[in-house]
């Protein structure tokens, strides 16, 4: 995973839930904070036999029936090795009419802890005869498509010799991060690093300002990044420090994984309008419903962009060739958009509001764990309250947070994601945050202008690739969580009760990339040839815990249990059944992943797997 020496370009890849994109910085034409950059148009099938180069690659994979397409209709500008799966715009449009063959939201599946992410499980509702793919495989294909598009456009600068960054949600757990890195390796990315999307958005903003960003933020600022994409919402807090007279952004906190995005909003509106039509006796079939969702998105965008428009017409075209007689006309009103989107997804709640959760029914495991509360502002309130102490130990921030603060006070907000193309929604979030700040007597936060909402993540990733080579501003911060394994406490057993467990810190908060720590004092006996499982926990708030620290008690919000982790000692050179004493090492890799290793006294090491295959 060494950085390529002869790179001509720094490449950034936004591997999104609904769209992917590739951006680049020309290293030879860039100097300091002045960068020459661009977005690669990605050739993709838009219809059978039709190839167009579009700035975004929709993250959809279509698995056609062998008889479905005429031969030669799947040709791309590069050799596809006879692979019949289609990625991109045609996959999306064709999948709309044949959903049983469409893989979508592979990224959300990649971080779904309840499924085996290497198993061929997508599309989840496909019939037997469809050859399914794994979430890992789908992500690999999108990355592969982008690599081939690059090699096709830049034969003089092969992809695997460039500096490459792939983005992930800040909320991804170590397992999902590792799977993303694995997908990149499988796709032929020899030296990709991972970057959190909200950081990428800030990098893009820094790059876009061309140096002026130093006038828009100052030391002591706390920037809240609110990133609401097509399928996920992601929050991060970045504090601005001053070191040796230079401004230095530090990422101090990341939010939880929230499966809630712009697509949910369009779907909510479509169901509203469908109910309205049903009340008038018009029933829509599945095909019309999708056309309606599409129409609702357009209507929503118009109504949210133009504060004076009161209604916007929606026409669901007929499916047959009789366009005029068969089309259904309806409309979306401002009141509906306000009620459902502005107040439904971005309600003006108090700072003490928390997202509603209800116990899940046992059968929901099969699908994606969508957020149960649709209110982005409530998730945001919970995030800021949980992180109230995020800056307490930070140099230059001492004493700024008092015990009267119920949440961390951001002083600037950066928006990202297509949802915020609507000034009304961005303003609603600003107003809500400023209400909270006002109630605690704080200055209102300001909105950072000039963000590029669609391509910021890809652009920021390219800038990060560039900054890693020493070219520009770097955001510091290290790992955003501390990690623990569960160990049984040595309390006497109480009948009918599970023995209480203690949490042993194996990786502290803020490990800088490239650093390795050894768990002191504690040795574990691993049985050769037998997998050993550990319960595994992560925390986004416990910043002080050092490696080796043992927690007896923790608050319900403080530690989140993750998938079990597993260490297996292969039998080579040892006798199965032998017990080997090992120490745990934590390593924050240059590539942006966390690794746990079991190291024997003789120096031999084995990787501890985060992604344990779950047997259903």
């Amino acid at each position: 995973m060494s950085a390529p020496v002869n790179a001509r370009y720094a490449i950034g890849i936004d591997l999104g839930t609904t769209h992917s994109a590739l951006s680049y910085v020309d290293l030879e034409a860039s100097d300091g904070e002045q960068t020459a950059h661009g977005v690669l148009p990605v050739p993709q099938l838009t219809a059978p036999g039709t190839v167009e180069a579009l700035p975004l690659l929709p993250s959809f994979l279509y698995l056609p029936h062998p008889d479905e397409l005429a031969p030669g209709e799947l040709a791309l500008p590069w050799n596809t090795d006879g692979d019949s799966a289609v990625a991109g715009e045609m996959a999306r449009s064709r999948g709309a009419t044949t959903p049983i063959r469409l893989v979508s939201s592979a990224k959300s599946w990649l971080c779904h802890p309840g499924v085996d992410r290497r198993a061929a499980i997508l599309p989840s509702d496909a019939p037997e005869e469809v050859t399914r793919v794994s979430p890992l495989d789908a992500s690999t294909r999108y990355l592969q498509h982008l690599r081939r598009a690059w090699d096709n456009a830049h034969p003089e600068a092969p992809f695997d010799q460039q500096q490459v960054t792939v983005t992930i949600p800040a909320s991804f757990d170590p397992g999902a991060r590792e799977l993303t890195a694995e997908a990149a390796r499988n796709a032929g990315y020899t030296s990709a690093t991972l970057l959190e999307e909200p950081q990428a958005a800030l990098y893009s903003w820094i790059q876009g300002s061309g140096g002026v960003w130093r006038k828009q933020v100052e030391a002591g600022d706390i920037v809240l990044v609110v990133d609401v994409g097509g399928g996920t919402s992601d929050f991060s807090l970045i504090a601005i420090l001053e070191r040796d007279g230079k401004l230095e952004p530090h990422r101090v906190a990341v939010g939880d994984h929230i499966l809630l995005g712009g697509d949910n909003m369009d779907l909510a509106l479509a169901h509203l309008v469908a109910r309205k039509l049903a009340a008038n006796g018009t029933q829509l079939d599945a095909w019309q419903m999708r056309a309606l969702t599409y129409g609702c998105r357009g209507a929503k965008e118009h109504l949210l962009a133009d504060a004076n428009a009161t209604t916007w017409p929606i026409v669901v075209p007929s499916r047959g060739s009789k366009l005029i007689g068969g089309s259904i006309r309806t409309e979306l009103t401002r009141d509906e958009v306000t009620t459902f989107i502005t107040d439904g997804f971005f309600p003006r709640v108090e700072a003490g509001a928390r997202p509603a959760t209800r116990a899940r029914a046992g059968l929901t495991q099969l699908g994606l764990p969508y957020a149960q509360d649709a209110a982005v502002t409530r998730h945001l309130a919970a995030f800021l309250a949980r992180q109230a102490g995020a800056t307490a130990e930070l140099e230059g921030f001492e004493g700024r947070v008092t015990s009267e603060h119920t949440f961390l006070h951001p002083s600037a907000v950066l928006f990202n994601g297509g949802v915020f193309k609507s000034g009304i929604l961005a303003q609603r979030v600003m107003d809500t945050i400023n209400d909270w700040l006002y109630m605690e007597g704080a200055e209102p936060a300001r909105m950072l202008e000039g963000a590029d909402l669609d391509l910021a993540v890809a652009r920021g990733a390219a800038y990060y690739s560039y900054a890693r080579r020493g070219g520009g501003v770097r955001i510091r911060g290290g790992t955003a969580r501390s990690y623990y394994v569960g160990v049984e406490s040595s309390m006497p057993a109480i009948p009918g009760m599970e023995p209480p467990i203690q949490a042993l810190c194996v990786a502290p908060f803020g490990m800088e990339e490239g650093s390795e720590l050894e768990l002191p004092g504690q040795e574990f006996g691993l049985v050769v040839g037998e997998p050993v499982h550990f319960r595994f926990f992560g925390s986004t708030t416990r910043r002080q815990d050092q490696i080796g620290e043992v927690l007896d008690f923790w608050g319900p919000d403080e530690l989140q249990e993750q998938n079990e982790i597993q260490a297996t000692l292969p039998a080579d050179g040892r006798t199965p059944g032998d017990v080997v004493q090992v120490r745990l090492h934590a390593l924050a890799t240059e590539a942006g992943t966390l690794e746990l290793a079991a190291v024997a006294r003789d120096g031999q090491r084995w990787k501890v797997e985060f992604d344990v295959r779950t047997t259903p």
Binding site: T50, A70, A75, P313, V315, L323, I324, G325, S327, R329
Partner: protein, 226 residues
């Protein structure tokens, strides 16, 4: 008048009204009143698109469109506009250079307009049977889709940036292909006049690439739901 006759001609194939209306007579009349058989709506549409591309791509053809007030469809077939009298030094008459355009690009554009805007469906509808409100609803689909196709696949800019109605002056040597003089066209440059239409120019065309085996004549595949 032309529109009416053409409509009657198309209606001969329609099952309605044929008992009472003297259709054969009308058809006969249409044949007598026009020099050649009139093209159907559909073939007119296809002609219009072919002409569009030819006008964009072929300066000589565009000049013909500009010069004869009727349009290219009814233009006399053979004589291309002879360029300004050439010196008699030319040894032999230069053969007229006419370009053949491939139909692929036109078919591709039609495919896009059908897919995004349902244009062929719309053009094939008989508007007489519907209320304006219904037509308006469908027109939104067509308008929105056409606008999307134009935006995604062409960069179209006005030829003249001045506001329509403004007085403008055309200096000598102005580009006669992009500015058309009308009305009292006498004297010599500079010409002063009022801009009545800004004109449009495609500065970029971005049509998709096609696979070698792709059959462009299928403008929209038939759909069969299983």
């Amino acid at each position: 008048m032309v529109e009416l006759v053409s409509f009657a001609f198309v209606r001969t194939t329609a099952p309605t009204l044929s008992d009472s209306a003297p259709v054969p007579h009308l058809t006969e009349q249409s044949r007598m009143s026009t020099p050649t058989q009139l093209p159907s709506f559909w073939s007119r549409l296809s002609l219009a698109f072919g002409t569009f591309f030819k006008t964009v791509g072929d300066a000589e053809f565009a000049a013909r469109v500009r010069d004869d007030q009727v349009g290219p469809i009814a233009a006399p077939p053979a004589p291309a506009p002879t360029p300004a009298p050439t010196p008699a030094a030319a040894p032999a008459p230069v053969p007229v250079q006419l370009r053949e355009t491939t139909p692929d690009a036109a078919l591709q554009l039609l495919t896009l307009l059908q897919r995004e805007a349902r244009l062929i469906d719309f053009a094939h509808e008989n508007l007489a049977a519907y209320a304006d409100a219904d037509i308006g609803a469908a027109a939104r689909v067509v308008h929105e889709g056409c606008a999307r196709v134009l935006k995604d696949h062409f960069t179209i800019q006005p030829v003249r940036t001045e506001a329509e109605g403004a007085r403008i002056t055309l200096e000598e040597g102005f580009d006669a292909a992009s500015v058309r003089l009308t009305g009292n066209v006498v004297g010599k440059a500079p010409f002063k006049g009022t801009l009545s239409h800004r004109g449009w120019r495609a500065t970029d065309v971005r049509l998709p690439q096609l696979a070698k085996e792709h059959d462009a004549t299928v403008l929209a595949p038939a759909e069969v739901e299983l």
